[in-house]
Symmetry: C2
Subunit: 308 residues, 2 copies
């Protein structure tokens, strides 16, 4: 088992979907990643920043899941990062209604002393310079560094992004972003180009179409479980990443075979995340239900052709 | 082994993709279905219609693949169905430039006498009344009837379409069409509604995202093999259906487990189809290459999580 450091936003989200809308609720990349990773009971620290308006009960909710929150800075006079978005009817596209950076604008992450030797580092979506500064603080080279990012940084901080990409082992990115980053339509060719930028492992997230894991000439495709209803996709990508990182930290095995399982766990946890608003479904996920869904994943994908 | 009857267009296609364009080349649903099915060496008859302008060499090409073409009517004074389309840069969307029905407008399919007891019937995309008339001609109830259709018939012949859908065991349809047919966004819910329309098995094709097979509460998801380059998607859906139908006819086994394999074979053959213009890649597919790709499919999808 390895220790896991997560850096990312801890935030307020306000969400509108065809099924309803929420006031400000708990959100943020580090929140979703942390809750997903907590399923694996690994020593986890979240590094983030919030304002004085952030409710103690939300912090308690993370602590209760055994997430070390000593690295979450509280700026008493500041306000918490706030994002608001509205999903279209297909739930695959959304408009951002509000982005208030607030305290996040001056976020200077500090990795807790006892996590500077963590084996797994999960860099949630943030400015690439902030992601880099976390790596600078590690006293021992981590076994695995995972980076999540988005098109926004490709548009406005590409050089910084390319610099941090060089330093990571795994990148998780969605299909459109992989295409934007490489200028290649074929995801196979795009992944190959991203390998050359640094990451030995490339995970391309395709939402309802699943996720692909690339490592040199190896490819693994985990479909998404077909769901009755997608209630709120917010945090699904982060939940996927958190499941992936948590499973690797727990098993301490970075082989391709084991990463396939990490992708399956990530997909499984993400399939729960979208069933309710925000973090609601992820706050307490019985392992019995997770097991049941893993079994469904097996049934969904496994076949037996004799290949003479 | 069962005999296989295929009904569908045998046509001229003219195709433009970002990689180039063709003059009138061999195309049509029955052509692609037949070539794919011929991989399995089952007794196959194609039922279609062409004009006097249709080259003997194209008919020979089908005969050479052991496809019985006695059910392909040749209207000497008529012209062959012609379709022309242009693919967009993403290769997922296309504009139809020309559709000339020609002899297809009066197509009255005739199943050859010795195929009226065929075990498997594959109804390629055509007017639903034409598809129905093929079923009317069968002297023995087929073990499996597979129907392919498209949104065009939902728009302009919905009642006829619903009538033929009632009579089939398997429907193959793409994701957007499944949504249009049912008014449901979730493919799981859409498949459930289509079950109620008649077909016990629903195959939803998602192009580069693979294909889903539904049967009551069972779901199987075959991803598409990530490809270096999609050169020409024309006929991929028909090739999928032909591989599916051919495999079922060969194995004579309509269990869900075996249909999963049929979906994998369909996906595998379709992955070849898109590598060259038109039928070029499908005219002679060495079984060695197919085997190699089936193995890739296994590696792409199989994982081994211990589920305690």
């Amino acid at each position: 088992m390895s220790k896991l450091v997560i850096v990312g936003t801890v935030a307020f989200d306000a969400i509108e979907t065809p099924f309803g809308k929420t006031d400000k609720i708990l959100g943020g990349a580090a929140t979703f990643i942390g809750l997903a990773a907590s399923y694996f009971n690994v020593d986890t620290a979240a590094v983030s920043i919030v304002g004085g308006d952030f409710p103690q009960e939300y912090l308690d909710l993370l602590s209760d899941r055994n997430i070390d929150i000593s690295g979450i800075e509280i700026v008493k006079e500041g306000k918490t990062f706030f994002w608001s978005g509205r999903y279209h009817n297909d739930m695959n596209t959304r408009d951002t209604l509000v982005t208030e950076l607030n305290t996040l604008a001056d976020f200077n992450p500090k990795v807790p002393e006892n996590y500077k030797d963590a084996g797994v580092v999960m860099l949630g979506n943030l400015h690439p310079l902030v992601q880099s500064s976390v790596l600078d603080q590690m006293s021992v080279k981590p076994k695995l560094v995972i980076l999540d990012t988005m098109n926004f940084w490709m548009d406005c901080a590409l050089d910084d992004l390319l610099n941090v990409i060089k330093r990571v082992d795994v990148i998780t990115i969605n299909d459109e972003e992989a295409r934007q980053l490489t200028g290649e339509y074929s995801l196979l060719v795009a992944a190959r180009k991203i390998h050359k930028m640094g990451p030995k492992y490339v995970v391309i997230k395709k939402g309802e179409h699943g996720a692909l894991l690339f490592h040199n000439d190896h490819v693994f495709y985990a479909p998404a479980l077909p769901l009755e209803e997608v209630f709120d996709p917010t945090g699904a990508g982060d939940t996927f990443a958190g499941g992936f990182a948590g499973y690797i930290a727990k098993t301490d095995d970075t082989s391709f075979e084991n990463m396939k399982n990490a992708v399956i766990y990530g997909s499984t946890l993400a399939s729960f995340c979208v069933e309710k608003f925000g973090t609601q479904r992820m706050q307490n996920l019985p392992s019995k239900e997770v097991h049941k869904r893993l079994l469904q994943f097996k049934q969904l994908t496994q076949f037996d052709i004799e290949l003479g």
